[in-house]
Amino acid sequence: MIAEAGLAALWLAASLALLQLFLAVTGLKGGKAELLAAMRPVAVGQGMLTAIAFSLLITLFLRSDMSVLLVAMNSHSAKPWLYKFAGTWGNHEGSMLLWVTVMGVAGGAVALFERALRRDTHMATLGAQATISLGFYAFLLFSSNPFARIDPPPTDGQGLNPLLQDPGLAFHPPTLYLGYVGLSVAFSFAVGALLTRTVDAAFARAMRPWVLGAWILLTLGITAGSYWAYYELGWGGWWFWDPVENASLMPWLAATALLHSVTVLATRDGLRAWTIMLAVIAFSMSMVGTFLVRSGILTSVHAFAVDPERGSFILALLAIYIGGALALFGWRIGSVREGAPFELISRETLLVVNNLLLSVILGIVLIGTLYPLMTEAFGHKVSVGAPYFDRIAGPIALVLMLAMAAGPLTRWRRDRVPAVAKRLAIPAAAGAVAAVIIATLAWGRMGLLPLFGLIVAIGVGIASLAPLWKRKLLRTPLFTWGMVIAHLGCAVSLAGMACDSAFTVEKLVAARPGETIRTAGWALRFVQIMPLAGDNWTALQADLAVDRGGNAVMMRPQSRFFTSPPTTTSEAALLTRWNGQLYVVLGEEVEGGRWQLRIWWKPFVTLIWLGGILIAFGGALALIGRERRGWLAKWRARRAVA
């Protein structure tokens, strides 16, 4: 019954989306903006129905209802409840249902909470959101039904890929999806503004909080995903340039560019056409990412299904939506008036530089991700990995960081080079001092990219705090704080990346219990190896007493064996200290009763994710700051009336 109810909810939601589109078209054609009032409950209802369908699928997974094909294929009754719960989206159909749920709920939120948008633009936006949703409803209902039954039901399920059996799965994909799919709102706003010819500052102010919200969640999702890959895969790396990681990075790059260009549009009424273009690109990148991942066209840890039919379906959706939006853009952009002009030396120019560099990085990542596909069409099997991305995207990212340091210290509209140089003097001097110190200490022992990365991180870190200089901190607006903290987060994250790649010490040994391994100032005494059993796994665990001249702490890396499906995973042991992390992985037993151990000391590696959290936190402050200003204005207006 539950499965059928879920399917019914999905069909109902799809028909509401159709109704929403119909209302938008009628309203816009007849010039009846009052139809917006009728669209609100429809959009909210659609959002609620998708949420209901998704909750029902979660219920099926929690109950281990093996008569449902999806549950039987991806779950197992012996799994801990958290992984039954999280397993809901750890598969193709479930993750696509999460996709439409986020889309529906986001559309409902736009209907319910958006008040600043002109009414006809609002209608067109909701119509566009319904149009995108319809395609994905069709995809779910016709080719990826999550509620399909299986007859006769198997006695038990096939289980979830043990790599995914980690608490991180409960948090990281939903957050990522909220951001990823939340960008559909920016896309719909852009389409709405193009249809109703309202590309201006007021429109940008209405769109900004939605972009900011999606961007914050995307940032958090990528940060969490990176940490998850770091500790769960046991390879010691934090970013692998895996196609799926790139698929989340590309929308983030576009959204970051959009966030900055929408600010230019909102405050200075410039970059109109470009902002609309970016809004289209950002969500297009989300869809391209989904296509790459869900079509199984690229090999990846994340690829659930290899299914050409689904791939072509998503490719068709992609072509329709991206092509349609670009066609609309080409058709209507002539009617978008030129925005306000600005001088060459101005904050606008630096934001254009930011946008340009972000777009270039986006292009480089996109080319690198698609290149294997293109060459395979010609019969060559190729993989593009870290060396390509590091070599090309790395230096450009460093230049981008420099622009980021200068941007907030440059005035809007017009500034003078000597004035900007004066404001940048202290950070630049700090960067230079850092450069001299680091270069004398570590010359030749450090790659060029990490070397420059560390220097830039120090200079930019100080420069990002400079906008607070000589200001009354308590009277500084929240969104300025937000910008400062987000930019500082970039510098912190960069420092972590540079330290990790420059100073990591790795040791690979085969040791017997009783031996002590010394590396990077640490002593690891291998106490014993013992078997262990969990809910649906058994494991071998190494106990290591670890110290650095103080009290010993136990570290317990494991090698876990799962039976359904039969797989072994390694659970790394991590020890976090203020200045870095010790990372230990247990390998297999070799001759002479020895066990393989792989040990890393990673100085300041945690800064990478701390930076990511700071970036998202800065975004949240900016969002609250802007919104609060709106509330305050409303409150004052109301009081003035009273």
Partner: protein, 148 residues
């Protein structure tokens, strides 16, 4: 500067940087893209030492040896037509074993041994490295069957 001129300058800068980035990307792809080789390709075409490639095939039965340090392994990779010696230091994936498929990332040294920096074996029963799709290894005859 007039607004029109300034727009032109910005557009030209944008165009130049995009073209520049494209060229940069193209040249880097030429150098850094790791091409996939089967042992027969290696024997036929030759791969210069130090060039990053992916070597794929099956681990020859009886060829897997572990060095005294306990963490270095030596093995031969075959595609049924040729064999290539390879070595790897690290923790091998659990499904890495003799007679099983492997894709090794790394480069050849001067003596013609493939030094792998990373081994991609089957993750689980359902996952197979894409490059090895359609390859089957006969364990008794050491023959490889390739079904397209």
């Amino acid at each position: 500067m007039k607004a029109k001129h300034q727009r032109l300058v910005l557009a030209l800068v944008a165009l130049a940087s995009i073209i520049g980035a494209g060229l940069l990307a193209a040249s880097a792809l030429k150098d850094e893209a790791a091409y996939f080789y089967a042992p027969a390709d290696v024997k036929a075409k030759g791969v210069e030492p130090g060039r990053a490639i992916r070597l794929g095939g099956m681990v020859v039965k009886g060829s897997l040896k572990r060095a005294a340090d306990g963490v270095t392994i030596r093995f031969n990779v075959t595609d049924g037509k040729a064999r290539v010696p390879a070595t790897f230091s690290g923790i091998a994936p659990d499904l890495f074993k003799e007679g099983s498929g492997v894709v090794a990332e790394g480069a050849f040294d001067d003596k013609g041994t493939f030094v792998a920096t990373n081994l991609l074996a089957k993750h689980d029963e359902r996952y197979m490295p894409r490059e090895l799709e359609g390859m089957q290894y006969n364990e008794t005859t050491h023959e490889m069957k390739v079904t397209p």
